[in-house]
């Protein structure tokens, strides 16, 4: 349908240019308005009130939302086509757009209202699945359920209106929709209060983020967002604290690792290099996750002075950790380059030194240095770390060497 707009407008402009009589604004207004009517009729044929409520009832507000987006898009496309040709007519089409598009515009508005409804439903449906933990969790979860059931009731009331909501002549819609919005606002305020309570109740930063995560898109609703903004400072403070802790952990751990101390924070079963790397990666992950979440949480938090501090701290810590990783790997790589060649050139077998040269056991002459390298390579590959080519070649033949 959208493809038709340009040819139609083009023909209209041609008629305007060549016709003796059909080139007055009065004629054009009628024609354009009637085209708008046709567009509205088409849109309503594909998505009318009952269909929308059908999708909502069937738990598919997304489908309704998509269709409405499409309808809106068609309206804009037609207006675009009109303005494009208005330009081409060298401004001979001196008509106020209002006279042309009054009905199309109010239709678009209605579409937007209904999309507001569907998106609200999508966001609130999140509530069904929320389960808040911690000490107050049970009562809070119960309140959330209560709110959700009240929300469903509000939607039911709204969807039981006796007229077609896509009919723009039905002015009652505005009243009903206003009532619905008021109801939703009240529910939002209650959710916000639950959210803050739950937020204060959970004491780890990860826990707080999990709580926020579970409300997902609901967090974008203005009322809830306002309420949450008050909590941003707490969140930033906590995270800053955590960054500092990680920083200290890193400094202390590094000293221990460098001394190959027994208390160094490396897993017993990992070789030294990959062990150190997986330790630092652990630290990196610990600070990265909250940072990622903070960055997408909201714009207002990112505008804060405190956020910039935290960001700086985070960046420097990340850099330290990554530099440390790189230096560890580089050091090891150098060692690998030097040793492997020599070691591999040795004879495969050797005889144990005994007094009589021919009586000692025959042993495999495989140097422990090589064994160490092979072990490192194995774990480094598991950690997804780039391994020098030399070592990789060696590792590819590991099965041959083993036998």
């Amino acid at each position: 349908m959208v493809d038709l707009f340009i040819p139609i407008m083009h023909t209209i402009l041609l008629i305007w240019t060549y016709s003796q009589h059909y080139n007055t604004p009065a004629r054009l207004v009628v024609l354009i308005r009637e085209i708008c009517n046709a567009i509205i009729n088409r849109s309503r044929a594909s998505i009318d009130g009952p269909t929308i409520f059908g999708f909502i009832g069937a738990d598919e507000p997304k489908t309704a939302d998509d269709k409405l987006t499409l309808a809106l898009d068609v309206c804009t496309k037609f207006k675009d086509a009109y303005y494009e040709y208005k330009q081409k007519s060298k401004n001979q089409w001196k008509i106020t757009s209002n006279a042309l598009f009054v009905r199309l515009d109010s239709f678009s508005e209605r579409c937007q209202d209904i999309m507001h409804l569907t998106s609200t439903i999508m966001q609130f449906s999140q509530l069904q699945r929320i389960d808040i933990g911690n000490t107050k969790g049970k009562t809070l979860t119960a309140s959330v359920m209560q709110i959700y059931s009240e929300f469903t009731k509000a939607v039911e009331t709204f969807t039981s209106v006796p007229y077609d909501i896509m009919d723009i002549e039905k002015r009652e819609f505005d009243d009903d929709f206003y009532k619905f919005r008021q109801r939703i606002k009240e529910l939002e305020r209650r959710i916000a209060s639950i959210l803050t309570q739950g937020f204060d109740d959970s004491d780890t930063i990860i826990g707080k983020f999990k709580l926020l995560d579970s409300f997902k898109s609901l967090l974008n609703r203005p009322i809830i967002q306002d309420e949450l903004e008050k909590k941003h400072i707490t969140l930033l403070e906590l995270y800053k604290q955590d960054l500092k802790t990680v920083g200290t952990l890193f400094m202390e751990g590094k000293a221990l690792v460098d001394k190959a101390d027994e208390r160094s924070p490396i897993f017993k079963n990992l070789p030294p290099i990959s062990g150190a790397l997986s330790w630092t990666n652990g630290l990196l992950e610990r600070i990265k996750e909250p940072m990622d979440k903070l960055s997408v949480l909201s714009q207002s938090i990112q505008d804060r002075e405190e956020f910039k501090d935290v960001q700086k701290l985070y960046a420097s810590l990340c850099k330290n950790l990554k530099d440390y990783n790189a230096s560890k790997v580089a050091l090891w790589e150098k060692g690998v380059e030097e040793t492997t060649e020599d070691q591999l050139n040795k004879f495969l077998l050797y005889r144990e030194p005994t007094p009589k040269a021919t009586e000692g056991f025959i042993r495999v002459n495989f140097d422990p240095v090589l064994v160490r390298i092979l072990r490192e390579v194995k774990y480094l590959l598991l950690l997804d770390i780039e391994v020098p080519e030399r070592a990789q070649l060696l590792f590819k033949k590991v099965d041959i060497y083993r036998t």
Binding site: P7, T11, I15, Q20, V30, E34, N41
Partner: protein, 97 residues
């Protein structure tokens, strides 16, 4: 008849589609053509001759009206001719299938 306006279709609370516009000019042109035919028929000519011979005051307005009808007919016919090019596009636009 001459004062018929395509906009009237939009005014009484209905929402016609663009095909209405094409049909309006089609009807208008057909109606006016038939009026023209009637006006140029032998009987009317005779009446006119008669009126003229008797120096009736009615001849002036009548021939003026006749001219107006001619002009409107030409306009309506031309409009329909041009609008007809849009018919196919409008059919696609309104066809919900």
């Amino acid at each position: 008849m001459l004062k018929r306006d395509p906009e009237s279709a939009l005014k009484n609370g209905k929402h016609p589609d663009p095909i209405t516009e094409i049909n309006f000019w089609k009807d208008q042109s057909q109606d006016l053509i038939s009026i023209c035919k009637q006006l140029s028929s032998e009987r009317i000519k005779k009446v006119l001759k008669f009126l003229e011979q008797n120096k009736s005051t009615y001849t002036g307005p009548f021939s003026k009206l006749q001219k107006e009808v001619q002009i409107s007919r030409a306009e309506a016919t031309e409009n329909f001719l041009y609008l007809e090019t849009l018919l196919d596009l409008f059919n696609q636009l309104t066809d919900s299938a």
